[in-house]
C-alpha cells in the first residue's frame, strides 16, 4: 500500500486496462513507433500479469450490475434474517448456546466474507466485503452481549478500543471504506466513552464535546498522511469523519453552554482526561511534521499549510477556552465560522470535494442556527419562516452552483 501505480492497479478493472493497452499498442504500431515483432511481444504480455484474483474480479464484473445488486441484496437480507432469527429466539437459548452462536456467527461471517473478497478463493468481492462488515458488527455485538450474559461492568471503555482497533485492521486488510467508517466511528465512540467514564459521564458523553475537537484534528492529520501516501479513498474517509467530529462538536458548543448546565467543575477531571485531551493534538502535530518532512510537495510557506497550522492552534486554544467557567458560546460561534470558512478554502486549494462539501454544509448550518437564535423571538413566526426558507433555497442554489463549478474544475484538473 505504498501508493505506487502498481499498487493502485485495483483502481482500473483488468479488462479495461487490457483493452486500453491493446488499443495503445495498436495505435503505436500504426504510427510505426513499434515494429511488428515488438508489438506482438508486448501484446503477449498484456493480461499475463493479471493475478487469478484479478481475473476472478473481472469475471464477476461480467455478471453485470443487476446480478451484483442481487448478490449484495441477498447478503443484506441473509444477514438481516440471521440477526432477526437470533434476536427473536435469543432469550430462549441457554448460556452455552448463546455463546456458541456468537462465536460461530462471527467466525462464519469473517471466513465466508474474506474468502469471497478478491484475496480469497472465490470472486465476489462486494459480497465478501458485505459479509466481512457483518463480521465486524458481530464482533462488537459479541462484546456487549457477553457483558450482559455475565453481568460484567467495565472500569474503562477498553472494549470500544479493542473493537475499533480490530475494525481498522480489517478495513486495511480487505481495503474497505465501509469497514473503515465503522472503525473510525469506533475510535470516536471509544474516545467519547473513555473521557465520559473517567469524567463521570455516561457512555458517549456529549456534555463537554470540546474533547472531540482534538480527535477530529487528529483524524484530519491522519487523512493527510493517507493523502501523502496516495490513498485518496481512505484519506477521504478519515477526512470526512474528522470534519464531522470537529464541526458537530463546535456546533453543539456554539448552541449550548453545556458545562454551565451540568454544573461540573473542570478541576474534577482526573489526569487521564487531560492526557486524552492532549494526546490527539500531539499525534496531529507529529502527523503534520511527518507529512512536511517526507512529502516533497508540501512547504510551510504555502497558504494552505499556513492555514492548517493556524487552525491547529485555534483548536488547541478552543480547548483552553472551553474549561473556563464563563459563558463561551460566542467563542465557539467564531471558531465554527473560522473552521468552516477555512475548510471551504482548503477544499478549493486542495481540490478536495470532501473538504468543500462538508465545510459548505456546516457553514450554512452555522448561519441558519444563528438566524434561529437571534431572530426567533424577535420576528413574527410567519416572517421568520418566509425569510428562513427563502434564504435557504436561494443560498442552497447559489452554493450548489458554486460547488458544481469547483467540482468540475477539480475533475478537469485531474483529467
Amino acid at each position: 500500500m505504498d501508493g505506487s501505480p502498481a499498487d493502485r492497479s485495483d483502481v482500473v478493472a483488468p479488462s479495461v486496462r487490457e483493452r486500453v493497452l491493446r488499443d495503445a499498442i495498436g495505435a503505436w504500431r500504426a504510427a510505426s513507433l513499434l515494429s511488428a515483432g515488438q508489438a506482438e511481444r508486448l501484446l503477449a504480455t498484456v493480461g499475463a500479469g493479471a493475478s487469478p484474483g484479478e481475473r476472478r474480479v473481472a469475471n464477476e464484473r461480467k455478471l453485470g450490475r443487476g446480478v451484483t445488486i442481487l448478490i449484495n441484496l441477498g447478503a443484506i437480507v441473509l444477514g438481516a434474517g440471521l440477526l432477526v432469527f437470533f434476536a427473536s429466539n435469543w432469550v430462549e437459548f441457554g448460556r452455552a448456546a448463546k455463546i456458541a452462536s456468537l462465536f460461530a456467527l462471527t467466525l462464519a461471517f469473517y471466513v465466508a466474507g474474506f474468502e469471497l473478497t478478491r484475496d480469497g478463493r472465490w470472486s465476489f468481492p462486494k459480497l465478501g466485503v458485505a459479509l466481512v462488515f457483518l463480521g465486524c458488527v458481530m464482533f462488537g455485538t459479541d462484546i456487549v452481549l457477553l457483558a450482559l450474559i455475565y453481568d460484567l461492568g467495565a472500569e474503562h471503555a477498553w472494549s470500544f478500543l479493542v473493537q475499533a482497533v480490530a475494525w481498522l485492521a480489517v478495513a486495511y486488510i480487505v481495503r474497505s471504506r465501509l469497514v473503515l467508517f465503522l472503525g473510525l466511528i469506533g475510535v470516536v465512540a471509544w474516545f467519547g466513552a473513555e473521557v465520559g467514564y473517567c469524567w463521570g459521564g455516561y457512555w458517549i458523553y456529549l456534555g463537554r464535546p470540546f474533547h472531540f475537537i482534538g480527535v477530529g484534528a487528529c483524524l484530519l492529520a491522519v487523512a493527510g498522511v493517507h493523502g501523502w501516501r496516495g490513498q485518496r479513498d481512505f484519506a477521504a474517509a478519515w477526512a470526512l469523519v474528522g470534519l464531522l467530529v470537529v464541526y458537530l462538536s463546535t456546533l453543539i458548543l456554539s448552541i449550548f453552554d453545556v458545562q454551565r448546565h451540568v454544573r461540573v467543575d473542570a478541576a474534577t477531571a482526573p489526569a487521564l482526561v487531560w492526557l486524552l485531551f492532549a494526546v490527539p493534538y500531539v499525534l496531529a502535530a507529529i502527523a503534520l511534521g511527518i507529512i512536511h518532512r517526507r512529502w516533497s510537495r508540501s512547504t510551510l510557506a504555502e497558504p494552505p499549510a499556513v492555514v492548517v497550522l493556524v487552525l491547529l492552534g485555534c483548536m488547541i486554544l478552543a480547548s483552553v477556552i472551553a474549561v473556563t467557567p464563563h459563558s463561551r458560546e460566542l467563542w465557539f460561534i467564531l471558531l465554527l465560522t473560522l473552521l468552516t470558512s477555512a475548510g471551504v478554502y482548503l477544499g478549493i486549494a486542495w481540490e478536495s470535494p470532501v473538504f468543500l462539501n462538508t465545510s459548505l454544509v456546516f457553514l450554512a448550518v452555522n448561519l441558519y442556527t444563528r438566524f434561529y437564535e437571534y431572530f426567533w423571538d424577535a420576528m413574527p413566526k410567519s416572517l421568520f419562516f418566509i425569510i428562513g426558507g427563502a434564504t435557504l433555497m436561494l443560498g442552497g442554489v447559489w452554493v450548489e452552483r458554486m460547488r458544481r463549478r469547483l467540482i468540475r474544475q477539480f475533475a478537469a484538473t485531474a483529467a
Binding site: 462465536f103 485492521a169 480489517v170 469524567w199
Partner: protein, 528 residues
C-alpha cells in the same frame, strides 16, 4: 501478496476470537471450578423484567444491611479506588450486616453464617460527577462514612418463564457463591412470595388480631395483558405476622378497613390506572364480594367510618356536586346517610370518626372542627392551628399533626393548646394509648436525627423507641383514606407500614417482626 493478506486477516480474526474467549473463559472457570459453600441472599420487592438481549431478570432491593457505621476500617484509612473485601455476617431472622473491611482480594471461605464481597472504594467526587458506571450495590462503612461499590450486580438473570410468576413485586432468594476466581455469582434463584408494592394497603382486625394486606395485581407474563380485568390479592396474617390465607378480589383495592364483624370494607376501582371513580365494597373473609355501592368520585372520599360501614364524602352543589359550598356526608353501601356536616368553602382533606364524634380537618383554613356524628351539630371549632393534616382522638386527648408535618400538638377539650412539640420532620401518623393521653408517632427525623417510632407522654415528653423503623404513610404517593398505623387493643402492639414491609412492634417498642411479604407454601424456582 495474497497469502500475507490471508495470514493477516486470519490473525486479526483469531485475535478477536481470543478477546471473546478471554471474556468467556474466566467466567466459566470461575463457576465450573467453584466447590465452596453458598449463602442465601434475599431480594425484597423484586420485580421481573425482560431485556431483548439479556433475557429475563429480577431486580429489587437487597436485603443486605449496607450501613456499617461501627465497622472498624484499616488504621491508615482507605483511598478512593482501592480494592477491598467486605465481610458480612448472616444470622437467622436478621439482615446480613457488615462486620469488617480489609484491603485486597483475599477472603475467607464462605460459611453458613459468614461471607464476603469484593468491592472498590468510591471516590467521593463521583457523587458530583453523575452516574457513569453500571449500577452496583454501595456500602457505607465507618465514621466518617466511606462508600464502597460492591462487585454484586443489582439484578439476577432468570428463566423467561419466571415472568409468568410475578403478579407484583416478589420476595426472591438466591444463593451467592464465592467463585473459584473470586468473582461472586448467583445460582438457585427462587421466588419465595409476594412483596408489597407502594399501592398495597393494610388493615388491622382488632377483634381477631389479624393483619390484612390488600395488594393490586399486575398482569404477568412475557406479554402482559393490560386490558384484562383488574384484580387484587387479599393476604391474611395473624398478629405475629404468620401467613394464614390468601384470596383474590375483583377490582383494584384503593384502601380498606376491617369492620367489627370481620368483614372488610374496601374502596375498589375497576380501572387499573387512576382513581376517578371507586365503589364501596363489603368483602367476606375469602375475598368474596357481599355488597357493592354505586361508583363515587374517589377524590371526594375523605375517610372511613367503619362503625356505620361507610365513608365520608364531600358533596358540593350544582349538578356536578363540585361547587362550593361543600358538605361532608356519609355514604354507605345503601347510599347517602344523614347528617350533613358543614358547610365548607372547599372539600376538607381528612375526616376522622372517633366514637360518637366526627373530626373534620381543614388544612388550608388552619381549622379542626368537632361534630356530633348523630346530629351534625358543631361541638367545637379549634382554630389555633398551623396547617393541620391529621388528628388522633381518644377521649379527651386530641393530638394534631400540623406545620407541614413538623409539629405535634395536643389540644385540650376546650380548644386551648396543652403542649406543642416541634422539630419533627415527616410526621406520618399518631396513635394514642387508651386512657393515658400518651401515644406513639412515626416520623422520619426528630431534632435532626433519624426518628423512626417515638413515644410521647401525656405531658408532651418525647422518647425514642425504634430508631431503625422507617414509617411511611399507608401507601406512598397515592392518597390513602385509611389510617397509617394501628394499635392492638389486646396487647398494645403497634402495626404500621414501612416502605418495603409492615412492621409489628410490641407494646414496649421492640420489633416483633417485619412482614416483608406473603410467603408461598413452597418456593418456586426461577432459574433452571
Amino acid at each position: 501478496m495474497r497469502p500475507s493478506r490471508r495470514v493477516a486477516m486470519y490473525a486479526v480474526v483469531g485475535a478477536q476470537l481470543l478477546v471473546l474467549a478471554s471474556i468467556v473463559a474466566p467466567q466459566e472457570l470461575n463457576m465450573a471450578l467453584d466447590a465452596g459453600a453458598a449463602v442465601d441472599l434475599d431480594l425484597v420487592r423484586a420485580r421481573s423484567a425482560r431485556d431483548s438481549f439479556r433475557g429475563a431478570y429480577v431486580s429489587g432491593e437487597s436485603a443486605l444491611d449496607l450501613d456499617g457505621p461501627s465497622v472498624v476500617l484499616p488504621a491508615d484509612g482507605l483511598r478512593p479506588g482501592e480494592r477491598v473485601m467486605v465481610a458480612f455476617t448472616a444470622q437467622p431472622e436478621r439482615r446480613p450486616r457488615i462486620v469488617g473491611v480489609e484491603r485486597g482480594r483475599r477472603a475467607a471461605p464462605f460459611t453458613p453464617t459468614s461471607f464476603s464481597v469484593p468491592g472498590r472504594v468510591v471516590d467521593p467526587r463521583d457523587g458530583t460527577r453523575g452516574a457513569g458506571r453500571d449500577r452496583r450495590l454501595v456500602a457505607r462503612v465507618g465514621r466518617p462514612p466511606v462508600s464502597i461499590a460492591l462487585d454484586l450486580p443489582d439484578s439476577i438473570a432468570v428463566d423467561d418463564s419466571a415472568l409468568d410468576r410475578f403478579t407484583g413485586p416478589g420476595l426472591v432468594r438466591a444463593s451467592l457463591h464465592a467463585g473459584f476466581l473470586g468473582r461472586r455469582y448467583f445460582t438457585d434463584v427462587r421466588l419465595l412470595g409476594r412483596a408489597w408494592s407502594d399501592d398495597a394497603r393494610f388493615a388491622w382486625d382488632d377483634v381477631r388480631e389479624r393483619l390484612l394486606v390488600l395488594a393490586p395485581r399486575q398482569p404477568a407474563g412475557r406479554r402482559p395483558d393490560w386490558d384484562a380485568p383488574v384484580r387484587s390479592d387479599l393476604f391474611v396474617f395473624d398478629g405475629a405476622g404468620k401467613e394464614l390465607a390468601a384470596s383474590e378480589i375483583p377490582g383494584r383495592v384503593i384502601d380498606a378497613v376491617v369492620e367489627a364483624d370481620g368483614h372488610v370494607l374496601a374502596v375498589v376501582s375497576e380501572r387499573r390506572w387512576g382513581d376517578s371513580e371507586a365503589s364501596l365494597v363489603r368483602l367476606d373473609g375469602d375475598g368474596g364480594v357481599l355488597q357493592r355501592s354505586a361508583p363515587v368520585a374517589f377524590d371526594r372520599m375523605l375517610g372511613f367510618d367503619a362503625a356505620t360501614g361507610g365513608v365520608w364524602v364531600a358533596r358540593g352543589t350544582g349538578a356536578s356536586q363540585r361547587q362550593a359550598p361543600f358538605h361532608v356526608q356519609r355514604t354507605t353501601l345503601g347510599g347517602l346517610r344523614e347528617p350533613r356536616l358543614g358547610p365548607f368553602d372547599s372539600p376538607p382533606p381528612v375526616v376522622v370518626s372517633a366514637g360518637a364524634d366526627v373530626w373534620v380537618v381543614e388544612t388550608d383554613r388552619h381549622r379542626l372542627t368537632r361534630f356530633d356524628g348523630a346530629t351534625g351539630r358543631v361541638v367545637r371549632a379549634y382554630r389555633d392551628l398551623n396547617s393541620p393534616v391529621d388528628v388522633a382522638v381518644d377521649g379527651e386527648a386530641i393530638i394534631v399533626i400540623e406545620a407541614n408535618r413538623s409539629q405535634l400538638t395536643r389540644l385540650a377539650a376546650d380548644g386551648t393548646v396543652a403542649w406543642r412539640v416541634p422539630r419533627f420532620q415527616g410526621l406520618t401518623w399518631a396513635v394514642l394509648e387508651p386512657g393515658g393521653g400518651g401515644g406513639w408517632v412515626g416520623a422520619s427525623t426528630y431534632e435532626g436525627t433519624p426518628a423512626g417510632v417515638l413515644r410521647f407522654g401525656p405531658d408532651g415528653a418525647v422518647t425514642r423507641v425504634a430508631e431503625t423503623a422507617r414509617p411511611v404513610q399507608n401507601g406512598d404517593w397515592r392518597r390513602g383514606i385509611g389510617r397509617g398505623a394501628f394499635r392492638s387493643t389486646r396487647d398494645g402492639r403497634l402495626v404500621f407500614r414501612e416502605r418495603e414491609a409492615i412492621a409489628i412492634l410490641s407494646a414496649d417498642g421492640a420489633t416483633l417482626t417485619r412482614v416483608l411479604g406473603f410467603r408461598f407454601p413452597s418456593a418456586q424456582r426461577l432459574r433452571s
